[in-house]
Amino acid sequence: MAAADQPAVTGPVDAVPAVELHGITKRFPGVVANHDIDIVVQRGHVHAIVGENGAGKSTLMKTLYGMHKPDEGTIVVNGKQVTFSSPSDAIAAGIGMVHQHFMLADNLTVLENIVLGSEPTRGGVLDVRAAREKINDISTAYGLDIDPNELVETLGVGDRQRVEICKVLYRGARILILDEPTAVLVPQEVDELFANLRELKSEGLTVLFISHKLDEVLSVADEITVIRRGTTVRTVHPGEVTAHQLAELMVGSELPVPELRESTVTDIPELTVEHLTVRSEDGRAVVDDVSFVIHKGEIVGLAGVEGNGQAELVEAIMGLRPTESGRVQLGDRDISRWQTRERREGGIAYIPEDRHRQGLLLEAPLWENRMLGHQTQRPNVRGFWIDGAGAKKDTRRLIAEFDVRTPGIDVEAASLSGGNQQKFIVGREMSGSPTVLIASHPTRGVDVGAQAAIWEHLRDARAAGLAVLLISADLDELIGMSDTLRVILRGRLVEQVDPSSVTPKQLGAAMTGAGAPLEGSAAS
């Protein structure tokens, strides 16, 4: 293991660092999530903490935010040693956190979400006016542009993030932790966020910025601490390293690159969607007259800001959601009226976007999870009966072939790491020789090794002649892994772009409906 360097501290800083973490160790059942963590964060800095998924960044930040106590080590804030037993203690010490998964209650207003836990009252009554004034002040001061009276459920991703930031500022936080804040943003929104961060910095606030996107980190951070396998590897300045070197520090090798090899695209349509329209319960067209074709050996990427109909489109293709009109064709068979099970039996494999909700039975052993989605097919069943022996044997094959790290097949799915769960799902879905693969966010939240493996499996599937629909919020992944790239906006396919020439920025513009149409420029 690389020796932990002394944090190189240079530049104009206050004498007292904002945060110092020394020798932090945190254990969970069966795993040591963090050990011997040492980080010094200077006041007024944007300090990035990088590491791959599963390296222990989030655990560390939860420790700093008082959501759990470290087993060893000390936390020093503004020169004073502290122990946090709950987030309230951290909040009182001036620390605020913007979580990766937004912590907002949809059915409450922006104002209610922001003041929750630190409500201004007047004679016991919630002082809405005072709260509104304060929020508006913060919103103006930092350019957050939020309306306190709106219901959170009506907000988009970028708005929600600004509400989260406002929430933290409302509590007077001087130290902000942002956990993977750019994961769900398009490049334009990332720029806005960075502008906000610079604003905060200029006011003397300290930002801990957690990410695994190296380019972003290099552009925004004053200092970068790399975490690998639960411990700090090194702290560097952005000027003195390249993305390449950072990756080396982060995973010990180069980062895998999402890219396709020679084209395998045929002209045989395998999945054809024609004029598909899906309405939500309140009658809005969430998928609006969508048509596309995926050929054998082709990966079609679908780009869109979260919530623009991609989830509904996938569910409609899988038969999980009723469609209003249009048709779905598998090969030359019209499957519009088929049940989900028939579609799966017909050869559609499905990697769902939320593996815990839709991909796994968390409290069932792996071999039963192997049957899921294939519970009508050999080797899992024989006619009417479950074939436990067959399913178990095939599960052993699967974990060997797809490199799922598990002590056995009787282990419950919940016990595996995210990357291994996802590899398991990919392996399962590739079983039984499918002809179409619907992959929703296949590498979300998995470690670099699993990411590389999953990309390789996607390439293999393409080479084997599968028609693949790829949905992702990671624009590099989309651009690198797609033969054809479509953009969905408010339920409509608005553009087709050429993945070989489009930049993430251009794609981001298309996804938000800003910017000039790319069709002519990029595709030709």
Partner: protein, 423 residues
């Protein structure tokens, strides 16, 4: 409550979600109430079933609706904090026993109120321990509490009431009751108008006479709990925190809100309210009787669902159930028969509205049902008395079948939550 179809696909974050159904303004509510009363008056004049708007019936509506409303209010507290409380029935049973027990042995109806609080508290704290601390499935815990409460009340009644005059394991002796606050002059004045059976005017007089003849101090104090709940839950910091636990407890936790303590308070208050509902029943009947609650805890829950997890709505729901209960218990078969006409008219209106909104399936179904009910009304003189007894339960089913889909329960309702499980 697990009222929503759990199989429904994920609701993802949307950019431009349509706002949920807007709530009615105060004026519109008064208008709706007036329209309802006019419809009732019309049905009364048509059918000659004068009891359906008599002072007696409306007075009984208050008395019978109050326990349901209190149980519903209990459900509201609990579910707003994210804990489904199907054990309301059991807590209510404890309320009836303890209410009667305290009132009888202290010779004071006010001590009966205290007894209701004690009984409900016991049930509430058990549910809180099981669901909040131990994370047991909330419906399982609620059912278990109801089973336990039934046994406990039966045992304690055997211990305390056996040997008392008229008492035994299934029944208490007569207990001291609250006296009704009567205003004799108004009573006879409204009574005279009522007896003229004028359209609308007599009906309003009946309503007023019901009000001035049935109120007790207990009723008045209980009635105050509804606006008080609204104030506490929607206008104070504590209320916001409590509701946030029902919407997104992990978010609340990350802001330093003590989720467990809020849920504990909510579930215990929930139990107390159900217990008060039980004490109210015992006071109204003048004794404790086994099976006295008769599923009112569950009906209260239905009233809360009907009221979309809001105090005003649940009062309306409880009023509806209390009214049907009053009509069936006083007028019996004839009045309920008259209500068939009312049901036919309302379902027809609902159906026509649905047709107008182009919801053809729902609309035509409703119209057909309306016609069938109308035919039933025409062809019969009364409704089987055995079924009439269960009018509130039948109505509960109908109301839920018509209303459930448009409702919005707290987002984290019914989901066991543990500290530090946040992503």
């Amino acid at each position: 409550m697990t009222v929503q179809d759990t199989s429904a696909p994920t609701a993802t974050v949307r950019l431009d979600r349509v706002k949920p159904a807007r709530r009615l303004g105060r004026g519109q509510l008064w208008l709706a109430a007036l329209a309802g009363l006019m419809l009732l008056a019309l049905v009364r004049v048509t059918t000659n079933a004068n009891d359906i708007t008599s002072g007696g019936t409306l007075g009984a509506t208050i008395a019978l609706g109050m326990p349901i409303a209190l149980a519903g209010l209990g459900g509201l507290w609990s579910e707003r904090s994210g804990v489904v409380n199907i054990g309301l029935e059991g807590m209510m049973i404890l309320g009836t026993f303890f209410g009667a027990d305290f009132a009888y042995f202290t010779h004071s109806p006010w001590m009966g109120v205290v007894g209701g609080i004690v009984g409900g508290f016991i049930g509430g704290i058990v549910h809180a321990v099981a669901t909040v601390t131990f994370g047991v499935d909330q419906i399982v815990s609620g059912v278990a509490i109801t089973i336990l409460a039934t046994g406990l009340a039966r045992y304690l009644a055997g211990v305390f009431f056996t040997g008392q005059p008229g008492g035994g394991p299934t029944q208490s002796p007569a207990i001291p009751q609250f006296t009704r606050l009567r205003v004799p002059a108004l009573d006879s004045f409204f009574g005279r108008i009522e007896n003229h059976h004028w359209f609308l005017i007599s009906d309003i007089a009946g309503l007023l006479r019901g009000l001035v003849t049935t109120l007790t101090p207990f009723t008045i104090v209980m009635a105050l709990l509804f606006p008080l709940t609204w104030f506490l839950l929607w206008r104070t910091a504590f209320g916001l925190q409590l509701r946030s636990c029902g919407e997104n407890p992990t978010a609340a936790e990350t802001l330093g809100v003590g989720v467990y303590s809020r849920k504990y308070v909510a579930v215990i208050v929930s139990g107390i309210l159900a217990g008060l509902g039980g004490a109210f029943l015992a006071d109204f009947a003048g004794l404790y009787r086994e099976g006295q609650t008769g599923g009112r805890g569950f009906i209260g829950l239905a009233a809360m669902i009907f009221g979309n997890w809001r105090p005003g709505g649940l009062v309306a729901g409880a009023g509806l159930f209390g009214y049907t209960d009053a009509v069936q218990s006083r007028g019996g078969a004839k009045s309920v028969h008259a209500l068939l006409l009312l049901v036919a008219i309302i379902v027809l209106l609902v159906g026509l509205y649905a047709l107008w909104r182009r919801r053809l399936a729902t609309g035509s179904l409703a119209v057909v049902v309306a016609i069938l009910v109308f035919i039933w009304y025409l062809l019969t003189k009364d409704v089987p008395i055995e079924l009439v007894t269960y009018t509130p339960q039948i109505l509960t089913l109908l109301v839920l079948a018509l209303a459930t889909q448009r409702l919005r329960m707290p987002a984290a309702d019914g989901i066991p939550w543990r500290k530090g499980q946040g992503a």
